[in-house]
């Protein structure tokens, strides 16, 4: 489809590249623009005025601003999985093939059925929904709320996974500068010349700020020339970095700044391997906020009509983009600066219908400009705008003195003065202070290391911006310890800026304060009437300032109107709390690389790739992938595979990778004394070459972790932790060592990754080991008794550690070798064990065997159980102090009716058990008063040929043999179970000792 001609484009001037035309589509219609356009400027150049619909009333809206403060011109950009709702047309860079659609309208922007809401406007006032929709109660979720939800929202998010990449990076510098207008550039020059490391962030795609639209003369040069020269100088400084398309959005503690770089949003999609956006964490010693100021609207009836535009935005469209928002414009201003738009419009050959100036006096220069150019200057205010979705037609003007006038124009530029951007400086709860001379809030109480300069600090003249920026940059460099010379300061004249504050013009019709949220001046009056006078109440009651523009154009006007109706001053009324981010930031950028499979790191065991080759099924255990079971061809489900594995171990031999256990070297002359303090039982008397099971409590007396710890030498213990707590136990032990017991001579090192460790279990364990261990090693019960530990040589050369410990209840050893031999060890175990039918097993089989053996694990070590609850109370030494000893003696921890670990078996042997079922005394109706515990762990025991489990049951150990009821309403199951000894298998322990 041929693009329409750019009817509203000037034939020369501006910063667009007329040699690079770009075709784009808006609401299905094809248009063309140029490289250097934003979507908004391209729409302006094509004469498009109606761009969106408002939130509540679905009123037609156009383009109000030319920046990230835009409340109205929001579109859905791109399509499919890349659809981006609520994208500001004013910041979206044009690219070839851009597709955008208006939003919050049905069926079309031009004919929006929901604009019927305007008929209900008399009822849809601020907070109306708090007063109704209450009857009948059920109707809220069924009818009212779904309707409200459908009507609310703005654009539609994509409903498929975001296909683009994001990443995050760190940057460090002496001085970070927000904004590359005259103040920011001057700051960068001063700091950079002084030798500082500087990062200059500019949210626009070209540096220059207001210089790009407003021009001026600096150091005797036209602004564009000075800009080019300055950028060249900055580029020549090695440690100055200019980041365009990058918004500094937040400030965090210790001089950390958040910035978002839109790396490839100016392209249809990012090039291969490249990210869409990058989140920067910038660490800076100093920050200069040179983010400029935002022009503020004046609130009057019909001020939301398409074609009403901020005066400075109109200058941007004409001056920077060579696009004309209107043919015949009027200006409504209360200050000197607004007049620049008239000059720009005249310069571009546009008609000026009138200037409506709220001030009593205007300058002779402007008066003569008016008479020379032939337009009237009306002293007064625009009281209403007549127009519609096609745009502004007629303005009604209330003249000073009471009479009225009408002005015909197709565009209205509005200037209510300027508000410094006080966001960044206020994010640490600094409250901006009011300055009467400019009738605006300026930064105060900025976070440590941050200063505002230029317009962001209320200095609006070009010369003042340069001066403040330069001085702030030089000072920041000095503060950061850089002593080079800042050189000479760029100079320019200061323009006059006189202003008569004007916030709201009374008139008939809706006068919008927050255009996106459809908050009107009368809504603010209503809020005041109902007692929502505090600015935070006002904001919350009316939703003023809570839209995607965060109230950039509406907040100050809103509180000024509140101040007026409440009879207070503006500073008394105060501002709401400013909250980051300065501009909305894609959630994907905050996640960066950490999404989908890369959400968290993955830890792999030494035998992982071998297990994968065997077809193992893996389970996530914390960050680990562990082999859960090893299915074999023909096995129909996990239960069959696990049953086979268990039987193979119990009748022959199997092995399992247990490298995930935390492993800590505890060294030093006081290692034994140290362990005595962290474990409830004693380790100082453990013989070298022996292992012992240990239990740790938290200081509050509940069980923390368990594991087997061996003494490898007089001054060297090897401690193991559970997989889940490995890192936390290391931290806890370091706390004990460094903070609680610094007098002990003990050193700790994690060796978790140094050792590949395997459990080898089953009656044929020794047979297998004899094949692989040096024949000189004595593995007999006498030569290597239960709980013995020793370094041995393996056939073929390497050393290994052997631990005669058993989790399965079988004759078992754990063997560990340096981790890079781990895979060789598995392969060799398979070779050596082949004659004995060696079977690799996974965590399921490990779990089955530990339940059969009545060992507690994660579900029982829940953080709320005591040693006695677990049946391990006798391990608590009474002869020494240890972490948790005293609190473990509190009355509730030693109460007789505690829930303690007990075994359970279904009375119906065919019945399957499930963890999470509750235990109720037999014959009682389940209720809160007879809920006596729950099933913690279950398995199908191939050994007993039935399901068995462990449970925490009130007084459980006294009730062995009692039949109780397992109640599982979630899964609709109820059945009887018998409480029994938790050690189902080989209770005497003969097998593991044999």
């Amino acid at each position: 489809m041929m693009a329409a001609a750019q009817t509203h484009r000037l034939t020369s001037g501006g910063l667009v590249d007329r040699s690079a035309p770009l075709s784009f589509r808006f609401d299905g219609q094809t248009f063309s623009g140029f490289k250097g356009d934003t979507l908004a400027s391209a729409l302006v150049a094509n004469g498009v005025k109606l761009v969106g619909r408002s939130f509540k009333y679905h009123r037609p809206r156009g383009i109000l601003t030319a920046g990230s403060e835009e409340p109205n011109a929001l579109v859905e950009l791109r399509s499919g999985a890349r659809r981006e709702p609520n994208t500001k047309a004013t910041t979206a860079e044009l690219y070839e093939g851009l597709e955008a659609a208006s939003q919050n309208r049905w069926p079309s922007l031009n004919f929006d059925v929901m604009s019927v809401n305007q008929l209900f406007a008399p009822i849809f006032v601020a907070g109306f929904y708090y007063k109704t929709f209450m009857w009948p109660a059920k109707f809220w979720e069924a009818i009212y709320e779904p309707a409200i939800r459908r009507a609310a929202g703005l654009g539609r998010a994509a409903v498929a996974s975001d296909p683009d990449l994001y990443d995050k990076a760190w940057a460090h510098c002496d001085v970070v500068i927000a904004g590359s207008g005259p103040a920011g550039l001057a700051a960068a020059l001063a700091a950079g010349r002084s030798g500082a490391r500087v990062i200059l962030c500019e949210e626009d795609f070209v540096p220059g700020g207001r210089l790009l639209a407003d021009g001026g003369t600096i150091d005797g040069l036209p602004a564009a020339e000075w800009l080019a020269r300055t950028l060249a100088e900055l580029a020549s400084l090695p440690d100055v970095r200019i980041m365009t398309r990058t918004t500094l959005f937040g400030v965090y503690d210790g001089g950390t700044y958040g910035a978002i770089e839109r790396v490839n949003d100016h392209l249809p999609s990012p090039p291969e391997h490249e990210v869409r956006q990058r989140l920067w964490r910038i660490v800076a010693k100093r920050c200069v906020v040179a983010a400029g100021a935002l022009e503020r609207p004046i609130v009057f009836a019909g001020n939301d009509t398409p074609g009403v535009m901020m005066a400075s935005a109109m200058r941007s469209y004409i001056g920077r983009y060579a696009a004309t928002p209107a043919k015949r414009i009027a200006l409504f201003t209360n200050n000197e600066d607004g007049w620049r738009t008239v000059e720009t419009a005249l310069g571009a050959g546009l008609q000026v219908a009138a200037v409506i100036d709220a001030r009593a006096e205007i300058s002779p220069a402007h008066r003569s400009l008016a008479s020379k150019s032939g337009f009237p200057v009306l002293h007064g205010s625009v009281s209403s705008v007549d127009g519609g979705k096609a745009g502004v037609r007629t303005l009604s003007v209330s003249l000073t003195g009471g009479s009225r006038a009408e002005v015909e124009a197709d565009g209205l530029a509005v200037s209510g003065g300027w508000n410094p951007t006080v966001g960044l400086t206020s994010y640490h709860r600094g409250r901006p202070k009011w300055r009467d001379d400019i009738a605006a809030f300026v930064p105060d109480g900025a976070p440590p290391g941050m200063v505002a300069a230029g317009a962001a600090n209320g200095a609006f003249g070009l010369g003042a911006c340069l001066r403040e920026g330069f001085e702030a940059g030089a000072a920041a460099a000095r503060d950061a310890g850089r002593s080079g010379s800042a050189g000479s300061m760029p100079v320019a004249d200061d323009e006059a800026y006189s202003l008569t504050p004007l916030w709201h013009v009374a008139g008939k019709g809706k006068a919008f304060v927050d255009q996106q949220h459809d908050v009107t001046a009368s809504d603010i009056e209503l809020a005041q009437r109902e007692g929502f006078e505090s600015v935070e109440h006002l904001k919350r009651y009316t939703t003023l300032g809570m839209a995607t523009d965060q109230g950039k154009t509406s907040n100050v006007a809103g509180l000024a109107i509140m101040a007026a109706v409440a009879g207070r001053s503006i500073p008394e009324t105060g501002t709401t709390i400013y909250r980051p981010p300065y501009v909305p930031v894609a959630i994907g950028a905050f996640a960066g690389h950490h999404r989908d499979e890369n959400f968290h790191a993955t830890r792999l065991t030494p035998s992982h790739h071998w297990a994968a080759e065997q077809g193992a099924i893996f389970v996530d255990t914390g960050l680990w992938k562990r082999a859960q079971w090893y299915p074999r061809a023909g096995e129909k489900d996990w239960l069959e595979s696990v049953t086979r594995e268990v039987k193979a171990v119990r009748s022959g031999v199997g092995f399992c990778d247990v490298s995930t256990l935390g492993k800590i070297d505890v060294h030093g002359p006081d290692a034994g004394a140290f362990l005595d303090r962290v474990y409830i039982n004693t380790f100082s008397n453990l013989a070298v070459g022996k292992a012992r099971y240990g239990l740790m409590l938290r200081e509050d007396g509940f069980v923390y972790d368990d594991g087997t710890t061996s003494r490898l030498a007089e001054d060297h213990y090897f401690l193991t932790t559970t997989t889940a707590k490995a890192g936390l136990v290391m931290q806890h032990l370091e706390f004990c060592r460094q903070v609680l017991f610094p007098e002990l001579d003990v050193q700790l090192t994690s060796v978790s990754d140094q050792w590949a460790q395997f459990s080898i279990a089953g009656p044929k364990t020794r047979d297998l080991l004899k094949e692989i261990v040096d024949p000189a090693e004595d593995l007999s019960n006498e030569g290597f008794p239960f709980m013995g530990v020793r370094e041995v040589s393996l056939r073929g050369g390497i050393k290994a550690r052997l631990f005669r410990i058993s989790f399965s209840g079988e004759m078992a050893f754990e063997i560990s070798v340096p981790a890079r031999h781990g895979e060789a060890l598995v392969r060799n175990l398979m070779i050596a064990g082949a004659p004995f039918g060696v079977t690799p097993y996974g965590t399921e089989t490990l779990g089955v065997m530990r339940i059969e053996k009545g060992h507690v694990a994660g579900p029982e070590l829940s953080g709320t159980t005591t040693a006695a609850d677990l049946g391990l109370g006798k391990m608590m030494s009474t002869k020494k102090d240890f972490i948790g000893r005293v609190m473990a003696g509190r009355e509730a921890l030693v109460a007789a009716n505690r829930q303690v670990v007990v075994g359970i078996k279904p009375t119906d042997r065919a019945r399957r058990l499930r963890s999470g079922a509750h235990i109720i005394p037999k014959g009682l109706t389940p209720g809160p008063d007879n809920d006596q515990g729950y099933i913690t762990s279950v398995c199908f025991s191939p050994t007993l040929d039935q399901w068995i489990g462990l449970a925490l049951v009130e007084r459980g150990r006294e009730r062995i043999g009692e039949i109780v009821h397992a109640h599982d309403p979630l899964r609709g199951e109820d059945y009887d179970v018998e409480l029994c000894n938790p050690v189902f298998y080989d209770p005497d322990g003969g097998r593991q000792r044999g």
């Binding site: 760190w170 950390t256 660490v283 200081e699 931290q731 460094q738 903070v739 609190m887 003696g889």
Partner: protein
């Protein structure tokens, strides 16, 4: 937030783990239940400058005593825990 580890230099918050108020001292073995209850459970919960235990687990594994203002997050001092770098004792 950034913490200047006395061993590693200034580092990002993400490298550290917080434990809490460093003022409570673990009571002696014979201090009794009330003293331990106080140590384990009761807190001054200072709104202002507070001495805290932080662990540089993502770095050198030293426990640190950090003096920090809980109203502003400003850090005014960082020193090693008694047993961090304790090998220097008597050296």
């Amino acid at each position: 937030m950034r913490i200047t580890c006395p061993f590693c230099g200034e580092r990002e918050l993400g490298e550290f783990t917080y434990l809490g108020d460093a003022k409570p001292v673990r009571p002696a073995a014979d201090a009794g239940e009330d003293a331990v209850y106080d140590y384990v459970y009761l807190r001054d919960n200072i709104a202002g400058v507070m001495s805290e235990n932080w662990y540089h687990g993502g770095g050198c594994r030293a426990w640190l005593k950090v003096t920090r203002n809980t109203l502003t997050h400003e850090i005014s001092a960082v020193e090693p825990a008694a047993g961090a770098g304790a090998a220097k004792v008597g050296a």
